[in-house]
Structure formats: C-alpha cells, structure tokens
Subunit: 214 residues, 2 copies
Amino acid sequence: MSKELTETQKKILLYIVEHINAKGYPPTLSDIALNFNYRNRATVQQHLKALEKKNYITRTRNLSRSIEVNDRNNLYVSRPVVGEVAAGNPLLIYQDVVDSVDLPALANLPKNSFLLRVKGSSMKDAFILENDVIIVKPDGVYKQGELVVAIVDDSAVIKRIYEDDEYIRLVSENPEFTPIIVHRKSKNFRVIGSVLGLYRTLEAGRKRRLHRSS
Amino acid sequence: MSKELTETQKKILLYIVEHINAKGYPPTLSDIALNFNYRNRATVQQHLKALEKKNYITRTRNLSRSIEVNDRNNLYVSRPVVGEVAAGNPLLIYQDVVDSVDLPALANLPKNSFLLRVKGSSMKDAFILENDVIIVKPDGVYKQGELVVAIVDDSAVIKRIYEDDEYIRLVSENPEFTPIIVHRKSKNFRVIGSVLGLYRTLEAGRKRRLHRSS
DNA sequence: AAAAATACCATACATTTGTATGGTATTAAA
DNA sequence: TTTAATACCATACAAATGTATGGTATTTTT
C-alpha cells in the first residue's frame, strides 16, 4: 500500500498530472521548481524521490520527463462543467462555474472543448442520459451527420446534422422523431458545437447513479 | 490545411503517438533515432521539422520531449478488441485478434485493461448499445454496486454487483429485470472484471452507426 | 534538365536536465 | 530527547537532449 502524502507532495503530484493533461508530457524538474518558486532543482528531486518511494510515481533514472504517474485510474482531476443542455430548454451557460465533474486524469480532453451536463431524460433517444457529461467542441465546422448541440428557437437539442444548399436537417437517433428542418439563413438557429464524446460514470460509489429507482 | 505526409513522416508521427500512449510522454530525438535505426539525431530533427512545417506537430525549441501532436482528435490509433460480450451468450475471447477499433489517440487506457465489443442489443437496459466497446479491467477486486462483466452458467452479463456473506446479487439497471442471485461459492459464476467505461463513436462518417433504420 | 524536396550521414556545440553532495531549519515520531 | 522525516538552500558535474552545419544520394516536381 502506498503511504499518505504530505501537503507539498500532493501539490506537486497534482501539478504533474495537470501538466501532463495540459501539455501532453510530464514536466521537468525545472518546470516544477519554477512553478513552486524553488530556487533550484535539487529540492524538487527530493520531493520526487519521496513520491517515488511512496509509490505514486515511477521514474527512469537519467531520463528527462520520465515521470509516470502510477495508478492513474484512481486519480481524478476536477474539471468545470460550464453549462447544461436539456432538450426543449435553452442552453444554459453558467457565468461562474460551480458545478464540476471529476474526470479520470487520463481523460485528456482536446483544448477549448468544454463540458455540458445533460439534464432531463429527453435525450434518451440519442442514448444520452440524465447527468451524462458531454464533451463539446465549439468549432464552427461540422461534418455531415455529426452529432451536434444546436439551438433552435431558443431551445437546445442534440441531433445529427445534415445540410444541403438550402436546408439544414436535424435528425434524431430515434426514427420515430421527425427531423427538424430549418432554413440555412434562419436566425433562430445556431450550432453550438459538435459532440466529441460523452462521459458517463459507470463505477459505483461515485456521486451519481444512472437510475434512482422509484 | 496541412499537407500530405510522406511514408517516413507518417511512420514517425505514429511512433510518437504510440510512444505517448505507451509511456505517457513524447519521445526524444534519440528515442526516435533508435527506433528507426538512425545513426544520429540530426536526421530525426529534419523529419520533425518537416512535420512541424506541415502542421502535424508543435515543438518548443530547446525543450526536451516537447513534441505536441496537433489535431489529436482526428488521429486514431488502432487498438485490439479481444472479445465480445452479449447477454445470454458465453464470453468470447478471440485467440487471434482480428477485430479492432480506432480509438482516439487521446484515449489513454489504463494498462492491462482490455476492450470488448458488445453484441446484441440486450444490454440496452444498461444503456449499452450494440457495437459499443467497453473497457474492462480484469481485477479480482470490485466494489459494491460496481458494473461488472460476469459469467453465470456460461452466459455473459453486464450488471451491477452486490455481495454479502452468502450471496451475490447481479442487478440490472432496469428495475423490471429481476436480479440474478447466486451463492458465493457457486462454480457456475465468475467475475471477469469491472467495466471502467464505454466508448461509443458519436462522430459521423466512421465505420458504425448507432442505428441502422429498418 | 534543373530545382526542390526527401532521406540519410557525420561531427561539433550549447542547453537542458537529472543527479550528487553538503548545508540549515522545522516538524513529527520513537 | 534523540532520531527521522520534511522542506528548503547552494553549487558542481555528467549525461541527455536539441541544434547547427555541411555533406551525399535519390526521388519528385517544375
């Protein structure tokens, strides 16, 4: 079993994880020293040794940026959820982010994508459940048939988008729903972004449950 | 727009991505040189320059391992799917892996977990669809209420597991299904592993569709 | 046919990076 | 209270790493 970490060690470990998520590679000793205003790398070295001894990281000697974070599974990084979508309602973007999800540290999200929590079970036809968190990339570009978050007449929908020269069709996964068709130039229509993926906690013992049996 | 890559450049880019996935950090020039049997790093440097010019990677000068792969969204890495689960059927583990999924390169799966493709729509009650790929961690340990893949009487199921001193209950997400209850010591029962997550392609234009309308 | 891009080599050099050693001060454990 | 562990400092050094330059040979483009 790995022992308890001290405050400083925790901070450094977190910094490492977030550096990896942000930049795509672990920091060097200098990076860490700089971040914590250490005047030299030797200090960092000692903390890393401690972290390694306590089995939180693994390093390869003499190799730069060779910090591997062990047990990344149980390491969660808190990420802000910037808003909510619920079919029928307008899209909600919070001014001050209060809500957040703990995503596995290994979920390395693309830059400038953001997270939205799905409210209401009305997305069920797209097999997206209440409280699922969807990853949205706010690009103006989207391919034919891509799943997008769109605002139609002030209401949010998650649908597949198809467009031709004149019309845009928003199609549900469920064939029973008739497609929404709007003019390209319609002012009551706006694509927020494309849905890159969804995150759903399948583990037990975490905040939410898929079903709260009646 | 980024231009076409040459064969060598493609190989090197792929090596970089896989190095990142395997080790958690990008390779150095030496690493790459070693892998491709180059006698020096200068050669690699030139290829990297080309890759950077064509906008496939970004580097920070003088910084070790600072290769960032741009556009990781559209970069897919092929990963083996080692088997299939379908409720009612026994678990299938292929001897020779033929099937594979292209996972986004950024999906950095935990070591020793494996992928299973879900067959049949009978997992629908757990909101897992046909052809979804689930990520299974073959640990012996599982928590109360965790979603697991289990074999009961030679049939595979994906259910939440609860156990007490005597019995093990396998509960479906859907309350209409009555739980399966087995004795702890039952020989006809085995937990394969816990389901860490599921991967479902939401993008259009890729191999599979969620629904093939009738 | 000439120019440009590609794919490699070798060697030299400056920086970055990790490591080692020795020191001070504070807090926690035996 | 003595010993560990923690948290920092400074300086020195070797290994790893990125870069620069100049060269040859082959393929692709103009």
